[in-house]
Symmetry: D2
Subunit: 388 residues, 4 copies
């Protein structure tokens, strides 16, 4: 008898995790970006790699794009290419951190020329969304300042609201604006959207189709992230996740790698709050495979999310409610931990097999010869990367 009930398996079947195109390009630290053989050289190759993850796991049906990194001549053609590979195009991510003009800000900049340029970049993103059929425009602001006194934080906040209103007004029906927050980096004194409270206050002032993106690596040390998940779901403003993991700062490691139990608690709160398989809450990855191979890194990541979702679904919520009502701290915690410590992997392997998927997607990808093929074929040209 399987550890996982038909209801749980049915829930898991509906799960989809969006992959970021840029995860397949090279990334690194300020000290060094190490190059990897076979790295894609254009958006088409990135999508082809992302499709491999879906092929071996059935977990990653869509790919997020980053503009301008993924600009192409013909988005309809890119869309067909994706569909040919069995995936769709998802969230459009804007970029206001790699242009010389944005050295001191973009949507918050005091110079109207720069701010106008940044706003219009988002208009362009929305135009692309119309072509790709994307619903979400995700905005991460790399803006802030490095030194006290360098800038007027209040004025920037007001200009940010104004910029967002202009962008929000430009959205077409059914599209959403998703505002990400981040504790610090690349700004080292103040960041214009540093915490969920700021993101929430900014999007609440825009309207119903403006929501918050929670990146699991973007918090102060010790932050109880599942509490924020709970709160944003309660307030109806949790729009999407950027999953990754961290030991120190925004390390962008594989989701679940640093603190598996934290991932369990986060997903439990997603379930508790009705966010699992809800159209309102997008699950995405946002990681940097600096030293490990990129396609298997992404396969490992979506499997980690799936396995942890299975564990979180195992929590006996009725028994938990009873123990909580009785203030039986140890019993409640034991019910919670029992699910976490259950090994769901054999049941998931059986289930994958039953669905015509490989029992072990990591091994199956390794045996597929795809990696060797791209290493041989993708010679010459410029490898994609942050900034490519």
């Amino acid at each position: 008898m399987s550890t996982l009930s038909p209801e749980i398996l049915s829930t898991l079947e509906a799960q989809g995790i969006e992959l970021p195109s840029w995860a397949f390009g090279n990334s690194g630290t300020r000290f060094r970006v190490f190059a990897t053989p076979g790295t894609p050289r254009d958006p088409y190759e990135k999508i082809a790699d992302a499709a491999q993850v879906h092929r071996f796991t059935a977990l990653a049906p869509s790919v997020a794009l980053h503009i301008p990194w993924d600009k192409v001549e013909d988005y309809a053609d890119l869309r067909r290419h994706a569909e040919d590979q069995g995936v769709t195009l998802g969230t459009i991510n804007s970029n206001t951190f790699q242009d010389e003009d944005y050295k001191f800000g973009a949507l918050t900049h005091h110079d109207e020329r720069v701010r106008r340029k940044a706003i219009e970049h988002h208009f362009e993103c929305i135009d692309i969304m119309d072509e790709t059929g994307s619903r979400d425009l995700k905005i991460w602001l790399a803006e802030g300042s490095n030194y006290p006194g360098q800038n007027d934080m209040r004025g920037r906040q007001d200009r940010l609201q104004d910029s967002l209103q202009q962008i929000y007004a430009h959205l077409t029906d059914g599209q959403r604006l998703v505002l990400e927050y981040k504790f610090f980096e690349p700004a080292f004194y103040h960041t214009d959207v540093p915490d969920w409270g700021t993101s929430y206050a900014q999007v609440a002032a825009l309207g119903d189709r403006a929501v918050v993106c929670l990146d699991t690596g973007h918090h102060a040390p010790g932050t109880n992230i599942e509490f924020i998940v709970m709160q944003l779901l309660r307030l109806g403003k949790l729009g999407s996740f950027d999953f990754n993991s961290r030991f120190y700062a925004d390390d962008d490691l594989i989701v679940g790698a640093a603190d598996p139990f934290q991932l369990f608690r986060i997903i439990f709160e997603v379930i508790r709050g009705g966010g699992l398989n809800s159209p309102d809450v997008a699950f995405m990855l946002d990681q940097c495979h600096n030293i490990e191979k990129k396609i298997p890194g992404q396969i490992r990541s979506v499997l980690n999310v799936q396995e942890m979702t299975a564990r979180a679904l195992l929590v006996d919520r009725e028994a938990l409610a009873v123990a909580q009502a009785e203030n039986d701290v140890l019993a409640a915690n034991a019910i919670f931990m029992d699910a976490f410590y259950t090994d769901v992997r054999p049941a998931l392997a059986d289930w994958r097999e039953a669905r015509g998927l490989p029992r072990d997607p990591m091994a199956a990808f390794g045996a597929s010869g795809y990696q060797e093929k791209i290493e041989a074929e993708r010679v010459g040209g410029v490898q994609a990367g942050w900034g490519a």
Copy 2:
């Protein structure tokens, strides 16, 4: 010529910092509370001590009370006692952390009996406010849980809102509900109001007379507190400060002792946002003098706030705006630091003298004999403290 202009001195003259009655009682850590000779044994003696701080500084015109620690038979009499000493009664602080019933929660408790009791405690506080003439009811919740799974964070959040609505509805005209947040402690897994975002979302749902209290020691490591000050002022929800300082957690050290430059930046944002000497923003202390003498500890604290306010008022905001507009990072920072590094103490001493106050309030208090007097007189009885 004084470092401080008549305008600055006039602004400083209007400044008032509320003292907490409990700062004069004994406090300590979970390891030990060390007793101090002369410690007050009742609210009357606490107010007498607080009045000393005002007498030597003209900076501390009011005293906050903590219920039930400061319960008396006759609040009109306590009020007269305060006025006789030259001070007024200020904020009323509720207490839902020292009753056996509150072991697992109070305003968030799933047991309606306990929650009702906690709500009614706040009704009692409001009744006392009517007698003392207090405007603000400050609520700090010590509630949360220690273990994952122990409690249902979402249900607690909903019950908290319901409890606050009942309390808010009980306020009389002109009174305010001030909700404090705290990162952790005494709960070690989740805290029901852990961050400004939660406090903001909770009070925003109540109404205009519900605001946030920012305790400078209640944040995650590395948090940019002046950013939160800016944001809450911008949102019209910064109701009060609890000033203290910290190196590690909620250390409750003397304000300005751990990071003077942070205090400078905070007060600069208060000024920038119109919060200085505004009736909307109450300045309070909330500290623990575990090892130092209590009355001079409070004198030192209000002087630290005054001195730092003077420095923050010295920032040449016009020149700063020019440097910021030119993206001249080093010039802007230099203008900011120039104010911080200016020694305002001689000018403040001159000014105090001109107003009939002691040049050196610490020395003057030491020479006054008050400390020796209370050490001699306050023998017997139970010293006040946390829980007394």
Copy 3:
């Protein structure tokens, strides 16, 4: 076939985790200590409770004492009492934080009278060790300062070394001095032994029988604790563990409760470095059951350590070495995680049963009636607690 090989089970059989007597007394935060029915009123009752943990788990054969909390007239009698209960007396912990004299320091104090008193307290502890047959004298210093300038950190460090030398010279053959470090609390500016480096430098200057105690809750946020475990084992100076867990500061939660994967990594490094079941490395608990029941809290704790040891023993170290040698990051990590995610609990339950122990020690203790018995019997008297 069991998940756990005979070799692993044999290793687990040798495992012993020392319990602290004070875990059975009441503890709390600076805000409140909640009392629990049935709490011991003297060292005899504490040992009786500790023996219950061993009875149901066979994992906790010894009990650490805290002087003066556990002072008795006749240690030989206490020792017999322990042996009658099936346990032995273990580490002696000194206490230099609950005497009025130690407000500003003990082994580091500039006042020779106070320092002498603190040193002699340790002599007394050594005398007790001779009577109880204890090997280890564990020293945790609560010393430090709250304000910059308050004290001369360098002078204190030199006096600490002198004090420790005197104590070390007093040890009899086979006895050890174990020096614990702690990041902060109860001192909030500087702590005299704040990190492993200081503890290491201090004990290295004493001699071979002076070693370091690593309390898992005593580090700065983000610290890689297993690295320190590795390093201290490498340097031959890891004397003992104080196990507990934390989300924020020194929360003293149940070991494994906050970050199970961290505990796994720590125990893996213990095994890697030869510290498991080594006479040189004592495994102890040091936790505070503020809101949960104390005896089952300790049972849960030793089971957590045992289960995690089983998982860590499952790591296929040969395969791991191969993957590491090939720089196959994902494969090495997968081998590591595979052990962590294996559910060892059924195999451990079978094994316990085979040894005549309860399959489910938590349930068996609950069904034993012991808790009800002590709640009925231990009425009157003063409950033990920190400071009792």
Copy 4:
């Protein structure tokens, strides 16, 4: 009458702060490196820029080089160039993080070929030291791992010791090996020299001429850095400082910019421990001027160190000792703070003028035309930067 006594001024006159050549090249974050007009294109131009800092401040008599970034054909020629500019060549910094071979380690690598290459790189550095007349070889290791299980931390530690021994044996008379530690980055799970304890243990095993480098930005959040300064001076192992400042991680901001009071406390402990103007303790900068101008950024930095040294020298250590001996916490802290709050800038300006230096070095550099000159002249070629 000057705030600063002749003794203090005489001490300040002896102060020298080494500049890193790489501070004059472009730097940035993983998200973007913004280019600046006038950035040097080779080591000669870097030294010319560094010499400007010394010209306007008389505070920066030497320049540290980074190999291979600063490799030249003829070091004797580079040395003459430096001397012509009025400065000398200082510390040689090795680099084992920008070669493809070092992706998984260098001095710790399990592959003997890679480790040999890394060791020999240090031999080359020592050869260069012989030519430049440099005393110190500074080693910062970017090594570690990103995922638990990825590598064998213990084996790496042993190989590190072996590598260092080979390098140490290669030093010629009077040369020193200086080992830097860093909490994290670019490795995100474990770092091979993460803390002062590890650096201390490694260099203590080498010999007298191996010492520790303390970079003020390389600690866990909340770390009391001045305590480490005190301890390393006490142990005779503080070899050098890398000064910078931080709010979050290794932000590499201008020294004194984030927490001036921390810098004050650090320098006070340097003075207390005999490390000021001691040949044993080198003062260096290590910062990244990502958005501000580089030469004035360095001028600002050395002035910050000088001003803070002046303040720290003002502490009335006799009065402080008295207050400390009396356990007068508030008095001791007040004496300490009095020095910090004293405005030493006017006295320093007077003193500079008296020595033929500009009163305001920032303004004087701005007026010198040097910046405009290099912006006009340094067109074409490749700007220096990390990795250039």
